[in-house]
Symmetry: C2
DNA sequence: CAGTTAAGTAAGTGATCAGTTATTATCTCG
DNA sequence: CGAGATAATAACTGATCACTTACTTAACTG
């Protein structure tokens, strides 16, 4: 029975995944290359067969970090904008809660890299939300006097902090609901309750 | 003329401040004790006269991190809630932009510490906003069906991400305006514009 | 203004860790 | 099946860095 296996094709991704997980939880500098190796069931030397140095390994980890499955397109039916926004918020909240923050955590644990690294997930989320808001404005289902970019940034910011502080998944779910109610109807006391009116 | 000065009372804070600034910008682990010493115009040994080890220095830096000047109390006049909320958001935005994120950056650069460290600024901001929302609910100026805690978290989240990605101060100012408009009136197209109706 | 206290310095020191090297074990293919 | 070729290992190495130690110098005090 073999002591170890040659798996030249599978290794790189496994190593990157191990690095991502460890760095997200301990920070880049507190993560030893040997730790990554151990988690991947391998020794240090192996890592250096696939990556020039630790830096390149981390870059790969960030590059291969998970992206959410693609968004549903916004329906053309009148009145579809706000429900679509809610749905999008809920999906992003779930994704961030589950795993989406890993690359962000890694980037924040090493500001030098964070500066040169792309904002990945956050940028994706903001793009999607901004798109929905803009289409809503075009169809007169969202007030036109707020800049879509800022709105998207605010909403995504809320999602991100929520996931960061995030306790359990249930709490995140509620937050997403509250956030979409907040966004669609604001804080003013008039108007229907957020529970009664639509997903 | 003296080569150096004895300043036993001023040193500890200076050292903590230097550590905070450097760690916020480079991350805790990328910041060398010697760097902190140099920025404080001192040599390494001096640091160890005041702090047992690097860890204690960083803890002190976090503990001494700046807090905003105290909030104005919310007026009792009817209709004062929403303007107070706007004002609060704008103040926190400005503070976070200027310096308030330093401790957060430090904490995020070292997740081990971040876990045991208090959330400081963020908690403060959330407490204040939540208080305003609750008093608004009590006076029927804010809809009662949204949990104040979640609302506060969402708003603060937006502020924080904004400051994190934050370009210049002007942008932050706009964001705070947009956020408060979003919060008070929501995205629905009816109702007055955010520019025309009250600070 | 000595003489003592303590703040500061400068030059180590040992441990840790990224990256290497020499070697061994597993595949691949004629 | 056996002979490269190469994936993986185990043991090293040199640099870096947190922390120390021995000494220097500024300030206080009777």
């Amino acid at each position: 029975m073999a002591k170890w296996k040659r798996r030249a094709d599978a290794r790189p991704d496994e190593l990157a995944a191990a690095a991502l997980a460890l760095c997200a939880e301990r920070g880049v500098h507190a993560t030893r290359v040997a730790d990554v190796a151990e988690r991947a069931g391998v020794t240090v030397g192996t890592i250096y067969r696939y990556y020039r140095d630790k830096d390149e390994l981390i870059d790969a980890a960030l590059a291969h970090s998970p992206r959410p499955e693609r968004k549903l397109p916004v329906s053309d039916r009148p009145g579809a904008t706000l429900p679509a926004l809610s749905e999008s918020l809920r999906r992003w909240a779930a994704f961030l809660q589950a795993q989406g923050l890993q690359p962000l955590r890694v980037a924040m644990s090493d500001p030098q890299r964070g500066a040169r690294a792309p904002r990945g997930v956050i940028a994706d989320a903001m793009r999607e939300i901004e798109g929905i808001v803009q289409s809503g404005i075009a169809r007169n289902e969202i007030r036109a006097d707020l800049p879509a970019t800022e709105v998207a940034r605010a909403l995504v910011g809320a999602l991100v902090l929520d996931a960061m502080l995030g306790e359990d998944a249930a709490a995140t779910d509620i937050s997403a609901d509250v956030l979409s109610a907040l966004a669609t109807r604001g804080l003013r006391p008039d108007g229907p309750s957020w529970r009664s009116a639509g997903t």
